[in-house]
């Protein structure tokens, strides 16, 4: 197994863990955390492909990771703000209780 494949396996396992958490946990915050984990798995993929790819000097993978980290930060901020607003409305962060559109 080449190191690249190792990286990819790690990242896919990370992704799977994140997906499992996001799918199974009841708490909205944890769903968000799972999504963050999936994002990071993707980032790891990018880094790995950049490092083991044909043209590391192009730095493209790194750039994409930097941008995606920024986007992830924004996503986390907005998502958590949303969760807080929803919590104020429903008095809960339970995903399967916040299912109706009008409250």
């Amino acid at each position: 197994m080449t190191p690249l494949q190792g990286c990819l396996l790690v990242s896919s396992l990370l992704f799977a863990i994140g997906l499992a958490g996001a799918v199974t946990r009841r708490n909205a915050i944890l769903a968000l955390v799972g999504i963050e984990l999936m994002l990071n798995a993707a980032n790891l993929n990018f880094i790995a492909f950049w490092r083991y790819g044909a043209h590391p000097e192009a730095l493209s993978g790194m750039m994409i990771v930097i941008f995606s980290i920024a986007i992830a930060a924004a996503e986390a901020a907005v998502g958590l703000a949303l969760i807080i607003a929803i919590y104020r409305h429903y008095r809960t962060t339970n995903l399967d209780q916040m299912k109706d559109l009008k409250g």
């Binding site: 799918v23 995903l95 559109l101």
Partner: protein, 706 residues
């Protein structure tokens, strides 16, 4: 291009603005209204004077001074429609006359209408009328002329019906409007035809206006039905309009009834200016009228149109004068005299050309306005009494009015040498005398003059001499004056009439002065007016006055006038009637003639019997057609439509709706099916996404493999 000719439009626009402002202001602001109207009129008058001065300045240099200014209104088809105004002696003299008389009458009516609660409305209408009239005067394009003309008609309608609560007033307004419409129809037709012929409506447009040589020649040479020249046909049509407006013979019926309006209105519109508009129209299109006539030795060419004008004028003169003899309403008498004087003007136009007619128009405007205002003052003084039989002996009650009125009366009946009426009428008679076609108009004119002198004497005698006869019914009149809600000027009901306030008498005096003086600008010895209009120098030579033809004629007319005066005095002045009820002298003498005259030759009745009945019958026929024929057709069509709609409804309810219902039902069920998946649980979606990811990856892999 002089400044004033450029800005001539200001003259009508100023009163228009005044009218607008008065109209939009809130009601009881008499002072503002009066100030605005009179102020604008003063400005207009000054501008008119300025225009007049300009024409005097350029007088006598290369023919008639004439300047045209204007702007393009809108474009239809290939060509522009111009709104033009012209400044020439005719316009200038009319401008001065109209604005001056209107100004005086405005001032007068400030006093006369002082107690009417619709004061502002009245002044709004007056200003509007003045604007329209001035527009008529300055118009160079027949279109602008027509617009202003109709506006004049409208304002006259509004003002006649000013006291619309009186049914008679309302009816009179309607009558005036309808009757003048008949004439205006002719005018409109003539206008259209003129446009069709010459392609322009401008009178003067530097060589290719419709009154200038090129257009005229084409119109003269071009023949139409019955082999008469187009120019003549158009002229007749236009003259029909003029006749309607200034009450010539067949269409004169509205003018006496128009006396229902307030007296200043009668004075301004139905004596001085508006009725003169018809004459002015004929004078304006005189080149068209006289086109193609074979010229005779001195001056006036003879054409069919002018002949018609002459005859109509002569007949109207005698006809109306004879009616005026038997009237008892002071204003009606004046109205009929107005009609006859208008007839004189037409006669003058026909036989003597523009100058003669216009001269009489100007003088008449002044002394007739004077007379009307005098009668207004009398009526005002007698607490809204209009019946001459109930007056009498007012000489001592209202001396100023009497003096002014006497002057006006003498001027109207043409007292020799000193009064303007004499000169103008004399000129008409003179040119009628040497009219080549026939002498009958001349004799008619003389008879008219005689009658004029007679009935004016009668009126003055009845009103001012003798002793007052109206006292007994004073209270009744008073209450009557209350019930038509025009509060009388006198709350204390004392019987005696009284002199009018200065604001009313002063215009009288001014007008009286003009009534005397104006005559001297047109004497045969010094025909300045003639020269002014035709544009050549006029020099003073006294010999003209005493050359046999003129002198003889003057003597003849003087004799006629004296006869009339004497007859009137002998019949009415010498032995005054005692009571109101006592019959008239003529009535005692010649009962059926008197009744014939009193009922105005039954013209109204004749119209009633013929035209109006026919009209009613036609209305019935139309009603029948509408009710049964068209109605039936419409009924059939609607039934068919109803049938169709039934069919549609049937298909809608039992075919389309059912189909849609089933469709929607299935859609809803599908929605329910779907919504079990769309259950708001985020994690369900996430799972679906995961499955989709797996499927996608597998697909990609095997897509790669195969």
């Amino acid at each position: 291009m002089t400044w004033i000719a450029q800005n001539l439009w200001l003259i009508p626009v100023l009163p228009l603005i005044a009218a607008a402002i008065i109209a939009v202001n809130k009601q009881p602001q008499r002072k503002l209204a009066a100030t605005l109207a009179i102020g604008s009129m003063v400005l207009a008058f000054l501008l008119s004077l300025c225009a007049f001065g300009t024409t005097l300045l350029h007088h006598g240099e290369n023919g008639v001074f004439r300047e045209v200014a204007g702007f393009n209104w809108f474009q239809f088809g290939g060509q522009w429609l111009h709104i033009d105004w012209v400044l020439d002696p005719l316009t200038a003299i009319m401008l001065v006359m109209v604005s001056f008389v209107s100004l005086l009458i405005f001032i007068f009516s400030v006093g006369y209408m002082a107690h009417d609660e619709n004061f502002m409305r009245f002044f709004c209408f007056l200003s509007l009328f003045a604007a329209a009239m001035l527009g008529v005067v300055i118009a160079n394009s027949l279109l602008l002329f027509f617009i202003s003309w109709e506006l004049v008609g409208l304002t006259s309608y509004l003002l006649i019906g000013f006291w619309y609560h009186k049914p008679s007033a309302a009816a009179a307004a309607k009558k005036a409007f309808v009757t003048t419409r008949i004439g205006d129809l002719g005018l409109l037709l003539g206008m259209v035809w003129l446009y069709a012929e010459t392609g322009t409506l401008n009178f003067y447009a530097g060589g290719h206006g419709c009154l200038e040589q090129s257009a005229l020649t084409t119109m003269v040479t071009h023949l139409t039905v019955g082999g008469m020249a187009v120019s003549m046909a158009i002229g007749l049509l236009i003259f029909l309009g003029a006749a309607g407006k200034s009450g010539q013979l067949p269409l004169h019926v509205w003018l006496p009834d128009a006396m229902e309006g307030p007296t200043p209105v009668s004075a301004l519109i139905h004596a001085a200016t508006m009725v003169a508009a018809g004459v002015f129209l004929v004078a304006r299109v005189y080149p068209l009228m006289s086109a193609g006539g074979l010229p005779v030795e001195h001056g006036v060419p003879v054409t069919t149109a002018l002949t018609v004008v002459t005859w109509i004028g002569a007949l109207t003169a005698i006809f109306a004068a004879s009616i005026a003899v038997a009237q008892t309403d002071i204003k009606r008498i004046l109205a009929y005299s107005t009609v006859s004087q208008l007839g004189y003007m037409m006669l003058g136009l026909g036989v003597g050309g523009v100058a003669v007619g216009m001269f009489h128009l100007i003088t008449h405007a002044f002394f007739k306005a004077l007379l009307f205002l005098g009668s207004g003052s009398v009526i005002h003084g007698c607490h809204e009494e209009q019946d001459v039989r109930k007056m009498g002996g007012l000489k001592k009650f209202m001396p100023v009015t009497f003096a002014a009125y006497a002057v006006g009366m003498l001027a109207l009946s043409g007292f020799p040498l000193f009064f303007s009426g004499f000169w103008s009428k004399d000129e008409i008679l003179h040119s009628a005398h040497n009219w080549p076609v026939s002498h009958l108009p001349f004799f008619l004119g003389c008879a008219g003059a005689l009658l004029t002198a007679f009935y004016m004497t009668r009126q003055v005698a009845l009103v001012f001499f003798g002793q007052f006869r109206g006292g007994v019914r004073e209270s009744a009149v008073h209450s009557q004056s209350h019930e038509k809600n025009k509060p009388s000027s006198h709350q204390d009901s004392h019987a005696a009439p009284h002199e009018s306030p200065a604001v009313m008498t002063v215009p009288l005096v001014i007008l009286a002065g003009f009534a005397i003086l104006l005559g001297f600008i047109g004497t045969p010895a010094w025909p300045w007016f003639d020269g002014y209009l035709t544009g050549e120098e006029s020099k003073f030579n006294f010999s003209k006055l005493i050359e046999p033809g003129t002198l003889g004629l003057m003597l003849v007319s003087a004799a006629i006038v004296f006869t009339g005066l004497g007859l009137g005095w002998w019949l009415y002045g010498k032995r005054q009637r005692k009571t109101v009820a006592e019959p008239d002298v003529l009535q005692a003498g010649q009962p059926w003639i008197y009744s014939l005259l009193e009922n105005k030759y039954f013209v109204d009745e004749i119209y009633e019997a013929t035209i109006i009945r026919f009209n009613r019958w036609a209305a019935h026929v139309c009603d029948f057609l509408d009710r049964w024929i068209w109605g039936g057709a419409v009924l059939v069509v609607s039934c068919v439509t109803l049938g169709f709609s039934w069919l549609y409804r049937f298909t809608d309810e039992f075919v389309v709706n059912v189909g849609f219902d089933t469709g929607c039902e299935s859609l809803r069920e599908g929605g329910n099916e779907m919504s079990r998946w769309q259950n708001g649980r985020v994690q369900t979606y996430l799972r679906a996404i995961g499955v989709a990811l797996v499927v996608l990856v597998l697909f990609l892999i095997w897509g790669r493999k195969s």
